[in-house]
Every structure is written in structure tokens, then in C-alpha cells.
Symmetry: C2
């Protein structure tokens, strides 16, 4: 199922991840610091260089104040 990373659904997911961060008025560096991770981690998460697992998404969602569902592209 790993291959799914480069599907349209993932692309949309990544787009939302970025959109939510920007809407929250945060830079990747700020998010990185808040989570105690390197900036490249945030960048990779948003560009699809790496997968974002369930609990990681939950942390992003918390920071951005969004429900988890908000990030999931509906249908396929």
C-alpha cells in the first residue's frame, strides 16, 4: 500500500497539510520547533517526500486546530 504515496489522494492530502499550516499563520520552522523536529521533516511531509502517519497527523491537526477529517480527501 506504500505506493499510494504518489497518488492523487496523497497529493491532495499534502496540499491540505500546507494549507492548514499557512492558515494557522505558521512557518515550517515554527511548526518544526513546536514539534521538536527538523524543518526538513515538515517540508517532506508537505511535499510527499515522506509519509505522515496517523499520530503525526494528529499532532499537526492539533497545532493547526483542524479536525483530522479535514485533511482527508473524500472519495478514492
Amino acid at each position: 500500500m506504500s505506493g499510494t504515496l504518489h497518488s492523487e489522494a496523497y497529493a491532495e492530502f499534502q496540499r491540505r497539510l500546507r494549507e492548514a499550516r499557512e492558515a494557522a499563520g505558521l512557518t515550517q520552522t515554527e511548526v518544526a520547533e513546536a514539534l521538536g523536529l527538523p524543518q526538513s521533516f515538515v517540508s517532506k511531509s508537505e511535499t510527499g517526500e515522506r509519509r505522515v502517519d496517523a499520530l503525526e497527523l494528529a499532532r499537526f491537526a492539533g497545532l493547526y486546530e483542524r479536525r483530522l477529517d479535514w485533511f482527508i480527501p473524500k472519495l478514492d
Copy 2:
């Protein structure tokens, strides 16, 4: 952040993943077939042998009829 897989939070997450499946009255094999994946995939997801990314969780959640938030252990 990968290391987090063996944290208490993940353990709880995995517990819920299984709980939801059982509550839905499905076996790992049935879920596997529904998702077009091997049974070992479902087993590994529930035992923490592998990470469950955001979109994968969404598929499980769909099958089990649960909100994504339901799977996320609150706090810490």
C-alpha cells in the same frame, strides 16, 4: 519521529484499531480482502509491526464506521 511507533500512544492507537474492527464484526482476513491487501498487513497494523499512515487510517475508519478522531489517544 519514527521511533514513536513503540510509544504508549501508539500502543493505545493499535488497541483501538483492533477494537474498532472487532466491534464492526470483521476478521483481519475480511478487512484485508475489502482493502485488497494481505492479512499480514492488517495484523501488522494492529500489532505495531508497521506504521499506519493518515490515508490508510481513513480507509480503516471508513470500513469500521468511526471518525478518525476516535482512534487518536488524547493527551501526551
